[in-house]
């Protein structure tokens, strides 16, 4: 891979996590691979390089065998965001490409595009709903859900990891806005 692509770009984020009842924290770098492949091309394969692609649309499937954790967020009928430990990104990119030899697909490393925040604590759902219009009640958005949606004026990928813990992933350029919005909303949970 070109040396140019290895440059690390960080948004100007506040180093302060929210002090309120709901904690807003910036998560460490993670590898993100955008995978597009149609069901017909996959021909029934439920898994590619250990990534579980069998999950329903708008859900997160994780698998942990052979080394680091691998998660597949199914964002659409033919679209997944694959998450891997940051130091395994290149390795996984090559392995998924190899596993999909002969299958029409698109696989792009978008690790540097996004920033992920965790929103955790009692009332985390209210903090999310301060800027996001979707129904995050446990029946409509249970643990394990993950979807692309809106937060204020920014597009985000929202995932529910536990009853009171969400992750919010946005583009790097929107990160200071999203972080500020989350921290302001979290003040209501003091």
């Amino acid at each position: 891979m070109l040396e140019l692509n290895l440059a690390r770009r960080a948004p100007a984020l506040s180093p302060v996590a929210s002090e309120a009842g709901v904690k807003v924290a910036t998560l460490d770098a993670v590898g993100r691979l955008a995978l597009r492949v149609k069901a017909a091309a996959l021909a029934g394969r439920a898994s590619v390089d250990g990534f579980d692609l069998s999950g329903a649309i708008n859900s997160r499937s994780a698998s942990g065998e052979s080394g680091g954790e691998r998660a597949a967020l199914r964002l659409g009928p033919d679209e997944w965001m694959l998450l891997v430990p940051a130091d395994e990104t290149d390795e996984r990119l090559e392995a998924v490409t190899a596993a999909l030899t002969g299958v029409a697909h698109s696989l792009v490393d978008v690790s540097h595009r996004d920033v992920t925040f965790s929103v955790e604590g009692r009332g985390a759902d209210a903090v999310i709903n301060a800027g996001c219009p979707i129904d995050v009640s446990p029946s409509a958005f249970p643990v394990g859900s993950a979807t692309r949606t809106i937060f204020g004026k920014a597009e985000i990928v929202l995932a529910r990891r536990a009853a009171d813990r969400f992750t919010v992933t946005c583009w790097r350029s929107f990160a200071p806005y999203v972080q500020g919005f989350l921290i302001e909303a979290a003040k209501d949970t003091l």
Binding site: I57, N58, L75, G76, E79, P133, R148, T149, I150
Partner: protein, 98 residues
């Protein structure tokens, strides 16, 4: 907030969607053989009905897919949504008064 029933995601808030104009308008096979008036009518003339209207919608801030919807232009009610490529569903005017 108005909820739109995406064929892939289920009911989601209106702000995640974008309307792409009237549905089921096929591009002519050979524009070069068409009269200017016919080409003009393909490009610019739309039905603009009072009542049920078939429209293309994009769930851009969601699954990212285009689909078609039957919307009542009087009540703004979404009567049906269906995948691209499928025919316009038959809906009786009575059920459309949602």
């Amino acid at each position: 907030m108005l909820l739109i029933d995406c064929p892939y995601c289920g009911k989601r808030p209106e702000v995640e969607f974008h309307c792409g104009g009237e549905a089921h308008i096929a591009r002519p096979e050979s524009p070069i053989e068409m009269a200017d008036a016919d080409w003009g009518s393909f490009l610019y003339y739309r039905t603009n009905p009072k009542g049920l209207h078939a429209e293309r919608w994009l769930h851009g801030h969601g699954c990212g897919r285009w689909f078609n919807a039957l919307r009542d232009t009087v009540s703004d009610a979404f009567v049906a949504t269906y995948e691209m490529g499928k025919p316009r569903p038959e809906v009786s005017p009575a059920t459309a008064k949602a």
